[in-house]
Amino acid sequence: MRPERPLCSPRPPLASVQAALLSWITGQGLGAPAVDPPSLIHSDARAGADERLAVYAHMYRARLVEALESQFPRLARLVGAEAFADLTADYVADAPSRHPSLRELGRALPLWLAERRAERPALASLAALEWARVDLYDQADEAAMTLETPRAWPPERLGELPLRLIAAHRFVEVAGGTEALWDALSSDATEVPSALVASSALRPSAPLLVWRQEIAVYHRALAPDECAALAALADGSCFGVICERLAAVHGDELAAGRAFGWLSTWLTDGLLVQPA
């Protein structure tokens, strides 16, 4: 059956057709509807216009749920399939995709959860950690400094050793207990750890360091002094500055031990850029 367009009525312009269809499929209001989508579509014995449009609407929802589930598998596991689908629908209604790649779909989800699901802070924290891990997966590669560099550096000038964090790192401020929640929600988890969820809301927030080494993404909790030291390295500094900051708080002897300990850890973790 042909669309119900009287012979004398002009065909709507392409832009109006597309706005009407996309609005119908996504549920987004795109200005005053100039066209009724079903009236544009051929119906036949196989399927009517509404049924045909519904295929696209269903695929739209399913595609976005699948994309977000792949980016936030633990969040999806925590809330359950049905609630995650509802959460996805609410999120994309507020923040529809405006980027060509689905890779960007989840970028705003942690903040959205913090605002729209404020009564469950564990969700936003878990999402922030999961997004940081997704976001680092395909960041630019950089040559990481190895132990050989400080070993070959003149000992009397070790304070001048340039230290700069690789770009593939993030500091994520999350509710306390988020790391444990992340661990507990691994793919082989058999039950949702409700006690962990409840307790994470009560504990003070804590910084996590998330970074990529080679092709694997890691995260770990940071003590406040190491967090401050690493933050100072984000734009580049040198080993001597780190030592001086520590010495001001802990005294020279303790500062030296701690600074060398950090340097060893940062090198092992591939966190520092190889100097030119």
Binding site: P3, Q18, L22, I25, I41, R52, Y56, R103
Partner: protein
Amino acid sequence: MTKSLFPNLGRGLGLRREHYRQVVEDRPAVGWFEVISENFMVAGGNPRRVLDAVRRDYPVVLHGVSLSIGSTDPLDERYLAELDALARATEPAWISDHLCWGTAHGINAHDLLPLPYTEEALAHAVRRVERVQERLGRRILLENPSSYLVLDGDMAEHEFLAELARRADCGILLDVNNVFVSARNHGWDAHAYLAALPAERIGQIHLAGHSADGALLIDTHDGTVCDEVWQLYAEAIERFGPRSTMIEWDADVPAFEVLERELVRAAQFEAAALGKKREETRDAA
């Protein structure tokens, strides 16, 4: 048989995450790989490492899903710049996308929505293809979409696609499964569809599985190629000659060996079609 504007790379596969390690480490005997452009338009990390490794051993073609060539939204210049950068880094045999649209008012449905096949849409698409080809400095291929609805228009999809390819001087990625799915969903004649396409512009063929959802067939890419699609593929080869052919399998991705068996079937259908064509030519002479 008409020579294509694009080289025949033989039989290839879509490069999927499930097979990254096997492809890079074992270097299976596959003619070439198609990669989804958007999955590799990133700064680095494992995707680009894998692509670089695969490219060292195989020809690669880029297949996009977000060009939105038929959209009335402005072309996304940032997307084109990133695609151009990926192409410069990868040196693909060609770049393809779909005859479709997916955005309106800046919102992306991440779908391959069919155009109304009107003169207005044709003129619009021609201008956009010309602009994209100018930006990328190369001829692109556009794939016929699978569809579940048809909008009021002036011509059939195959007429629109053929005319677009001629006017914009672009190539066609013929998805035989999509022809079959859309023909079933809309009552089209799949044979007439193939017959209307300009042979020289067909540079690549897609084959895939589909599934049924009520009265409609859905292009799910989650299974083996069905017998009717194989027959249609043989008809396409007989009509157009051998073309770079690949299997698309995106959901419930099986072991690599299953895909290799599908490629063996493609080779068998191609050989049979070409043999039949030779016999017909000999008889006619």
